[in-house]
Each structure stands twice: as C-alpha cells, then as structure tokens.
Symmetry: C2
Subunit: 719 residues, 2 copies
C-alpha cells in the first residue's frame, strides 16, 4: 500500500551497526578517559532514567514556574548524593546533570560551585567551620547564592558599586546599594531559593576604599523564608534559557552584618579597623579555572549530544531517490553535502572531548600545586607561571569551544530540517540553554583577547631566548625554523606530524603578527593598555589560530597514547584527528596560504582529503556516536533514538504532550465573531459546478494555442 514501511527506520539503524570497524566499547572507554568513568556515567544515567523526579518527556511544555519547581525537586534529590558519595563521583554526576538539565546544574552549581567556592577560597579555617556548621555542605539550614554582577557592571568586577562600610562602633559592616545601577543582577537562586549571599562589595574603612571584597549576607530567615530587613529581592523573570534557575535582583539598604562575615583569608579587617592586604593577589585566579574547565567539558558533551541526534536522524531519514529503480529513497546521510554538514563536527566533538580531559588534568595539577604553595615557597614563580599559562589556555578554550558548540547545535538542528525546529527534538532548549556559556564567567571575546595577550608575551619571551616549556607554546622555540617551514608534500600533509607542524607554523605567524602590531603601537607612543586595545583584532585572530592548533595537538597526543591493537580504535581515532586538523586548515585556509605553509595546490589536496574523510567517517559514524554513550533519556529527542524508531516515537511524544482539548479554547470568544462577521466586499458568485464547461474551454484554448505555436515554429524554421 505504501512505499514507507513502519520498520524501515529501525532496520536501517540496525544495519548501520552490523559491522562496526572498531570495538565500540573500547572506543567509548577512550572518549571517557577510563572504563571507570564510563561505568559511573552509565550508572548515573540508569538511575536518572528510572527516577520519577528525572522524568523529562514533559519538560518542553512546562511553564517557567513549573520548571523551577521541578528543578527544586531535583535539587533535593541530588543533595542526597552530595553527602553520600565521594566528591569525585558527585562531580561526575553533576557533569551528567549538565547534559540532562543545564538549569539544574547551574542552580545547584551556584551553591556548590560559586557560593561554597567563594567561602573555600576566601574564608579563614574558623570561618569555614562556622559556615559548615550552618549547613554549607548539605544545604541543611542554608542555601547560598553568589552576588557578584550588578545591573551596570559585569565584566569590570573592580568597578562594582555595592558598598561595605565598616562601622567600628558596632563592629559591623553596612552593606548598601547606592544606586539603581549597583543593584545585584542575574543572581541565580536569589528569587526563590537562597538564604545567604556572597556579596562582592567595595570595602570602605574610615572613608578609604580597599577594593572589592566578599561578604556573606543573610537574605532570608531559613524558618519562614521571609526577607530580612533592608533586603529587597525581585525575580528577573524570563531568560533565553535555563528557566530552572530562579535568577533575581537584590538591593541592600543599610544591611548590617557582623565583621566576621567578611571572608578574611586574604584581606583582614581587625576590630579597630586596621586593614591587612594579601601579598599574593594572583592566587584568586584559581577559582575561575574550575568554571572554565567545566564549560569546556560541557561544550564537548553537548556537541556529542547534538550530533548523536542529528547523525542518527540523518541515517534514519530518507529523501529523494538517487536511482529511480531503488527500493527506498536515499538516506540523507549518504548525500555528500550532508556529510559535509555533520561529519567535521563529529571529528571536532571528539577533539573537544580529548581537549577537555587534558584541561581537567591540567586544572587538577595546577590546583594541587596551588594548594601546596606556601608564602615564600621556592616554587612560587614556577607555579605562578604555570597558573598564568593554564589561565590563558583555559580562557582560549572556553571561548572557542563554547562558540563552536553553540554553532554545532544550530547546524545540527538545521540538518534535521523542520523536525529540528520542534521543541520535542531537543535542539531548541539545547541552544538556548547553552548560549549563555559564551557570556558568563568571562565574555568569550574578552577571554580570547586575554589568551592573545598571553601569547604576545610568550612570543616576546621566545624572541628574548626564553625557552617555552609548556606544550601549548612550545612551537615558539626555534622560531626561525617554524616561521619559514613549508609543507613538503601532500603525503606529509596527511600525517599527524605534518598537520601538527602546519598548525605550529601558522600559529607562530599569527602570534608574530599580533606582537609586531603591538610593538608598533608602543613605538607610536601608545601606553601598554592602549597598544593592547589597538591591536585587539590581531590579538583575537592569534588566539583563534593558536587554539585550533592547541586542540589538534591534544587530540594527536591522546591518539598516540592509545594502544596499538587490532580493535580498530586507534586507527579510527587517528583518522578523526587528521580529519579535524585538515578541516580546520580548510576553515582557516587564508592563514595557511599567507604563511606560505600551503601552496594553493596543497590546499586543494587538503580539501579533497576532507571530503574523503567525510565519506569515510560516514561509514562508521553510527557506531561512533553510539560510543559517545548518551542514553535516550538524556537525549530526550525522539528523532535521535538509539533504535531508529523515530517517527512513531515522535508522533507519540507530540500526542502525549498535546492531548485533545474538550473544547476549543477561544472559538466562541474570538473565532466565531471573526469568521461570521459581515463584510461588504464579497464578489459575485459564479457557479463552481461549471467546472466542466471551464475545462472544455481551457482545453480548446490550449489546443488552439498549441496549434498556433506549432504553426509559428514551422514558420520560423522556414525563415
């Protein structure tokens, strides 16, 4: 009866998995860093999929209020794990939560990441114990929010305007919002959840300003949730995404807190108003790293989630027959252009995965070094150097990985055509939830510029003969050679080493250009800051090129650590790494041509290789996305289902979430008066039943016209 049979999509998907050219389980372990990590993730996914609190099929139709309430239920559930499992396990669980419910991740992260993080990094041991006793760890008795940004200040933390005057008479600080622009804004958890806030405010003692410090300010009575005197909190309402977070604004009007509520690990204010400032300002850097590390890993995971959906849909969906005799229409994944749309993004997602594992390692290493540090430590300089580099690397990665993933989500959506636009297939929320990653914890453009600034100074060091020791900037050693290097042959171009050298050369050129422009600005008499501003565009470009190369290098190193066995894993990862490196080369082709590293002919070769790798990757891409190990429950997208039963499940989900209404919601009120109204412009009615007369007329007209045209044509021929 029909060319479309109900099981075709499922049969197709099964066939795609019939002969994977690599051991899918081993590949999956590779992506996750260890078998242990993978097993834990699977455990967490299973628990979530069976827990009614994590039921998600109805999520796309909830109102903001309903989502917030659902999120609170989930917070309650997760709080159980905080106190019952290891920190490492809980962090892994949260990483999964970020993929399943980004609003939840943030709302809980505000307490555990930001608020608790502020206290851990800023409190003295006694202060820390005090807040522990108040319920900091288990959220029993208190829930924290993080009061940094204000309506008129975000990036410029030093410019925040909330004040904290020390009142020596009462031994208290007076926290105050001096004007509308100083209203704390975007404070997650403030509107409905938080009892306390870590407030960033200008410390003022005896009329003197000491800069921005952190103060713990009680907001609500935990027994009644009534606002405390002097606290004005409001809901800031609808956001692009992450509706589960109850962001609010806070205005303080002469709110008094005990002196001991200022976090005093670094700066201290004594009973008589003496202010002691810390010798090691840089160490507050550490706190920023954790957020960025988490975001790079979220970028990798979210990219994999989006691609699991779009790639599976492309395998199941058929459209047009390439051959009229074919039994079925062609899978859209078999069209070269569709491969071009999705396959490079798959390689990129895998690259981001390895990069995030490496950044995680770097972050832990740096954190440990920082924690071990004592004032006057002989390792101080080296540690600070290391910290600066990690800081710059994480800044660049956070910026370019979150940008790329945001783009990936929308490309994946577009690759699913109309069905990608339905909320039930997950892309809409994925995009709007993810988008904020490009803005918070450092606007991406500003972070990219920070990375560029670091690169300029590393380049200057390299020129001055100081050897670069970190893997990230090692290409700057032996500059003369790197800057004049050329790709020796097409064969070299298609090797991990060749691609790596290409990126080194191109990154060196981009950084050199930025440095030269910077130096030229200095020579023109511009201050350092002005010079950096003047050359911000080249700085940005340097960071962009450097970061692509850095990501490729992480991928390459990871691949080269994989055992050489017969399971096909290393071989396919190597293919993906070359694919990523060459595709990025094509994307940034102008730099490769300019630097002289590639000739136009070699660029053509690279392009042809990318097309070839698209086709090759297509052949194993279903097992590959399977190895990303994201459950149907976490995907929450019928067209991305594992079993390929996409249409039936999509139809079921749409029906379940949109039950037939008993009556039309506004027919009597709006439609009837509209559709039954009288208008005066009705034209005369001509019996439609006259269709046969009309067909006859049209026939005759057409025949006459055709005869005439024929006569005309013969006439023309004669001439």
């Amino acid at each position: 009866m029909s060319t479309w049979t109900d099981n075709l999509t499922m049969d197709t998907m099964a066939r795609e998995r019939a002969n994977p050219p690599f051991d899918v389980r081993k590949m999956s372990i590779e992506h996750h860093g260890s078998e242990n990590n993978l097993v834990k993730k699977e455990k967490f996914m299973l628990e979530a999929s069976r827990d009614p609190v994590f039921y998600s099929a109805d999520i796309y139709d909830l109102t903001t209020e309903q989502i917030r309430e659902r999120t609170m239920q989930r917070i309650q559930r997760l709080a159980h794990y905080v106190t019952s499992e290891s920190v490492d396990d809980f962090q892994k669980r949260m990483e999964l939560m970020s993929l399943l419910d980004p609003g939840l991740w943030t709302r809980l992260g505000v307490h555990y990441g930001l608020f608790l993080g502020a206290i851990r990094s800023g409190a003295t041991p006694n202060q820390f114990s005090y807040w522990m006793e108040k319920g900091l760890i288990g959220c029993n008795g208190m829930f924290g929010c993080f009061g940094m940004t204000e309506l008129a200040h975000g990036s410029n933390v030093a410019g925040l305007e909330t004040t904290a005057h020390f009142d020596a008479q009462t031994d208290e600080f007076v926290i105050h919002t001096p004007n509308l622009g100083a209203t704390k804004w975007w404070i997650g958890g403030a509107a409905q959840t938080a009892t306390h806030c870590s407030v960033f405010a200008q410390l003022i003692v005896n009329g003197k300003r000491y800069g921005t410090k952190t103060f713990i300010v009680p907001l609500r009575d935990p027994k009644t949730f009534q606002l405390l005197p002097g606290i004005n909190i409001g809901d800031i309402g609808k956001k692009m995404g992450r509706d589960g977070i109850d962001n609010g604004y806070i205005q303080f009007t002469n709110v008094r807190i005990p002196r001991a509520y200022m976090l005093m690990k670094h700066t201290q204010v004594t009973r008589d108003g003496e202010v002691r400032e810390p010798p090691l300002q840089q160490l507050t850097y550490g706190a920023l790293l954790q957020g960025r590390t988490a975001m790079v890993s979220d970028a990798a995971n979210t990219a994999k989630k989006a691609l699991t959906i779009s790639v599976r849909y492309a395998a199941a969906r058929r459209q047009f027959k390439s051959d009229a005799n074919a039994k079925h229409e062609t899978q859209i994944l078999d069209y070269p252009i569709h491969q071009r749309r999705l396959m490079p993004l798959v390689a990129q997602a895998v690259a981001f995965g390895y990069t995030s594992l490496e950044l995680q390692r770097l972050f832990e290493e740096t954190s440990q070094a920082l924690e071990a540090l004592e004032p006057g430590d002989p390792n101080l300089d080296a540690t600070i150097e290391k910290l600066k580099e990690t800081h710059s690397t994480s800044a660049g990665l956070k910026a370019f990985c979150t940008w790329a993933t945001l783009e990936n989500i929308d490309r994946s959506r577009q690759a699913c055509g109309g069905h990608g636009y339905s909320s039930y297939n997950a892309f809409a929320n994925m995009y709007s939830d993810f988008a904020v990653h490009c803005t918070w914890e450092g606007d991406n453009t500003i972070l990219a510029l920070q990375s560029g600034r670091f690169l300029i100074s590393a380049f200057q060091d390299a020129l001055d003969g100081k050897k670069q020791v970190s893997q990230g900037t090692m290409y700057m050693n032996d500059l003369d050679k790197v800057l004049t290097a050329k790709c020796e042959s097409n064969v070299a171009l298609d090797t991990l080493d060749g691609i790596d050298r290409g990126w080194a050369t191109v990154a060196a050129h981009a950084v050199k250009k930025a440095s030269e422009d910077y130096q030229a600005c200095l020579k023109k008499g511009r201050s350092r800051e002005q010079a950096f501003e003047d050359c911000s565009q080249v700085r940005f470009v340097a960071a962009s090129v450097h970061t692509s190369g850095y990501i490729f290098r992480q991928f390459r190193s990871a691949v080269e650590r994989v055992e050489k066995t017969n399971d096909g894993v290393r071989e396919h990862l190597e293919l993906l790494a070359k694919f990523y490196g060459l595709w990025q080369m094509e994307e940034k082709a102008a730099f490769f041509l300019r630097s002289g590293w590639l000739t136009p002919e070699q660029l053509d070769y690279a392009t042809a290789k990318v097309t070839e790798y698209c086709e090759k990757t297509r052949s194993f891409v279903i097992p590959l996305v399977d190895s990303f190990a994201i459950s149907d429950h976490v995907l929450n997208s019928p067209i991305g289902r594992y079993d390929g039963d996409i249409y039936r499940e999509y139809f079921r989900m749409v029906r379940r979430n949109n039950p037939q209404l008993k009556e039309h919601p506004y027919f009597e009120r709006l439609i009837r008066p509209f559709i039954e109204r009288a208008t005066s412009e009705i034209e005369d009615f001509d019996e439609a039943i006259g269709i046969d007369d009309e067909i006859e007329e049209i026939k005759q007209d057409r025949e006459e016209a055709e005869a005439e045209a024929k006569a005309q044509a013969e006439e023309n021929k004669k001439q």
Copy 2:
C-alpha cells in the same frame, strides 16, 4: 555618592546624535526605497504602538496558549485592513508585522500567502470565484491552511504520500493518509484556526499516478468548528519559536470531496476520468519566489532591528576606565574590538536592505512577465530564462542572507553581555523566531546548491560563447580577462569599482572550479545528477562567493543612484558599501589569495581598511541606526531604547512582568522539608567569633614567611 548617575546614559545618547554628518531623514528615505514607503511604515508603527491589541511589553512571559490567543486577536484586527486598504499597503503593513510579531505574520501568511496563493496559481477562474464567494479574501466563512509537508517528507514534494483517488462513480476524490509517515505535519493554522486545507496529494485515476496535485479539503464546520468526518487533527505543540502559530498534524481517512475541489488550472480531471496535463510545468516556480523575496527583506529588517538594540546599548553601556582620571568609564562602543564585533554587521544590514529592494523589483518584473505570458508566446523562452535566473538569485540570497542574519542576532545578543540573555531585551525571541527561515521554503543548503547548479550552467554557457545578460552573472563575459585580473594597487582596492572587480574575479574562479569538478565527474562516467552530488561542496562554495559579490554589487549600484548633494548621504553610503565589500573580502580571504587577485600585502591593507572603517562607522553609527526607523514599540527591548534610558526602563519592565508574589510558590512543599532535614555528616563547630585570634595567627605566619622569603632572596642574590 556614586560614580553612576541616572541621566548619564541619556546624556550620552543625546551627545551621539548632536552632529550627524548626514541628513538622517534623507538617509532613512534611502534605506526604505522611497519617502512614501518610510511615511507608510511610520504610520503603521504609530497605529500599532497605540492599539491595545498590539501591546507587547508582556509578550515575553505569555504561555504558548496565551500567545496563540493574542495572535488570533491580532489576526482579527489585521483582517480589517485586508479589505480596507490597497494590496501594496497591506503588504507593507505585513512586512512591518513580520518584524513586530513573526508568529502573527506566519499565521496570517499561511492563509493569505500560501493558501490563497495556491488557489490563485492553481484554480481556474470559476474555481477562484467559488472560493472568493466562500470568504477567501476577507476570511469570513473560511480560513485556510496549507497542507504540503508530511511527517516523512518535506523537501521531496514529489515524494509526498497522501493519496487522492478519483472515484468516477460519485464524481469525487477520496483523500487518504496511507501511513503514519504520510501524516500532514507542521501545518500552520491546522490546530485551531483553519476551516479548509490546500492538500498536496498524489492524484490517482484508474490506478494510474499523475504526481502531486492540490486539492481543497474542508476540515471543520465553520459554524461549530467541529472536525468533519474522516479528519483527525492534533496540535504539534511546542516549537523553538513563533508560538503564535497553531501548527498541527492532519490525517485523512477516506475523506470525500467533490471533483471540482481539485485545483484545475494546470492539470484537469474530467467527469469521465480523463487527465489533461499542462504544457508549462515551470510556471509553478513563480509561487516560490514570493516567499523568498519576503524572507530576504525580513533578513534585512531583522538584522537592522538586532543592531539597533546592540549598537544603542554599546553606546549607553560603560565598562572599565581607559584612563584612571577619566570622569566616566569608557563606552563599550569605543573599544576597537567591540567595533569589530558590530560595525561590519551594520554595513551588512544596509547591504541586505538594498539587495532586498532590488530583489523585490526583480520579483515584480518577473511576476508581471509571467502573468502576461500566453501559451505559444514568442517571449516564452526569454521569460523562462529570466525566471530561472531570478529563481537562482533568490535561492542564493534567501540562504545566505537568512544565515547571516541569524548569526547577526546571536552576535548582537552576545555583544550585550548578560542583558542580551534576558528575554526582555528581545534577542531570545528574535533568534528562535528567525531560525526557521533557514529551514522552511527550501532548506538553505539545498537552495545554495540550486544556486550553484545554475552558476555551473551559466559558466558553461559563457564558455560556449553565450553572452550573459543578467546583472548577476555578467562577470562571466570575457572570462579570460576576469580570471587573470589582479588588484593593481591599494588605491584601487579601496574603490567601489576595484572591489567590484575583485568579487567578479573571485566569483569567476569559484564557479570555474565547481564547473571543472562537475565536468571531471561526468568524464568519470557519473550521471548528471551524480556529478552534481559529487561536487556539491564546491557548488556550495561557488554560490557563497557569488552571492557575497552579488550583494556588494546591489549595494554599489544603489549607492551610485543616490544624488550627489551636500547632505552627506551618498558619501556615507559609499563608505559603508566599501566597508561591506572589504570586510567580506577579509572573511573570504582564502579565495582572494588563491585567485591571485590579492597579494598578502594587499590583504593586510584590506584588513587595516576594515579596522579603519569600523572606527569611522562608529562615529556616526547612532544616527545611522536611527535612520533604520524602528520604533521602541517594535524593538520591544529596554536596552535598545531610543532615548538611552536603558537601566531604569529595563528594571521597570522586569518588575512589571514579575510582580512580588503574596507567598512563596513552593516553600512549604519543597524548600522547608529540604532545608530543615537532618543529615548526619555535620562537622564540628568551631567558634567563628575566634576571627581575631585567627587574624593574629595569619598575620604572624605571613610576616614570618615574608621574612624568610626575603632572606632567601638575599641568599640567592649572593650566589
């Protein structure tokens, strides 16, 4: 008391407007094509801003159900104008509606654009009269929807599976959905509004299939809105955007309609089952053009809307002081990198505006030529040629302009930092509403490929010596010269003519590459269709480069038509045109280097020029976005307000839409049990009041460590 004064943002904005270097009104007239167009738009904006039905400040917090109802109210209001003003005026009004309320535009457009359009292009005169009498024009008595796409078929219209069997006995068609995949899907208006549907179905007469034809099928009784027998309609629910449209699915189960309900202008079925097929298949092209033309214009208008907000915010927002002695922080618009983020997009939006005016003209010209056409007409070939070219041009423009604007919206959002992420500042909805433009009425990638296919055939014609007559492909005449051209100097590079020649050369190279790859595939024995698939990536690239050049050329021509007077208009438009052309050159630099048109040094010059134009454009960008003439009501974004009073109005809007609740929505139910629960892991309490002892200890430790470090340092010096 504070460095932030309430009127600073307003004073700043006033200063930005103090000395515009061009006549703002005349500039505005230029953007709108004529003074008449501008005056009309202003009239429509004023009417909308005062009409309670178009109140929009609460729109971001409405539920889907509320938005649909609001949209219905607006439809009712607009229907008044359909029958009371000229078609041209109503189209202009709708263009504005698209900017104010994209869901409304679509929901009404489904009836007036698609349903009525299907009848107009497919019905015989008698049939048209019949539906007119039923209320087609005024929506009184009927409201139509457009039943083309199915769950399993979108792009492949010929592959649709809904069937229309002719039953000769009863003189009826039987409309039927043979399987789940054939369910009509995404049908705007089906869920709550439509009484009739223009159904695309496979015509089957006496067992023979005649391909996809259109049938008008009644869905609901207009008196009761009950579904008619055999009709199953459901709501397809939540979408990424445009919630005002009530998209639904429709399943037909042996639904009988009179034979005369098949649209028979082209194909006819007679009483006894004879099928007459039309001689001029191509002419259905025409219908597609209107949608695309509207989308290019929507891309230009929406880009201007997004930029009006982000640019005004960048002028009002201050962050960081570049000079410690400065009275205020720096306007973010003054940072070179922020100029780089937004100014090229402003030039692009202006370019899109002129392109859309030109496409409009082309569309009208083509439509008139088509309407004037008779079978056997001697102008037939020329008209079809013209139609093909307009078709290809509009396909490329629809694809690349909607992509660029979607990107622009998100870049504008990001340029507004956190406040861009608040729904109240309009970007969230703008993005999710606009995103569907990349998918519907032809997926962008597929359209780009169509444009690429046309370019390959035009190139082949050019090689064969056939002169290209259309402005779009004229650069293919005299190929030898174009392909070997080089930019003669930096001076030439910075002229409209020089840039134009550059784009011609680069486009010619890109099309040549696509043609050669295509020919190579044919030589390898691939079929035409296979060859086109194989070279889809180069085809895509050719379309992309060609379209950038095309847009520049439209901008250039428009500028050169502007009178040379002393009002500064032409001079500044010329600057913007060069800016756009050079910036796109920088974006697609690899093609310019490869083609040999630019040397690396010239590319550096182009980049420097782009930076310079960013700075220049910044100096007049506030008057420029003012000249886009988009009212505060249409912007509906407090941070984009004309008067610069951004913080107060944003705060007010947030408060108005999120009134204080009388009680916490779930404190007793969820928060109290959570926050008051007992946990067993509480650590010992250490009196926080011991802060002073602790400060003392920290002091001593620090002093000792510093002394030690000093001693160590001196020790080191000695060595």
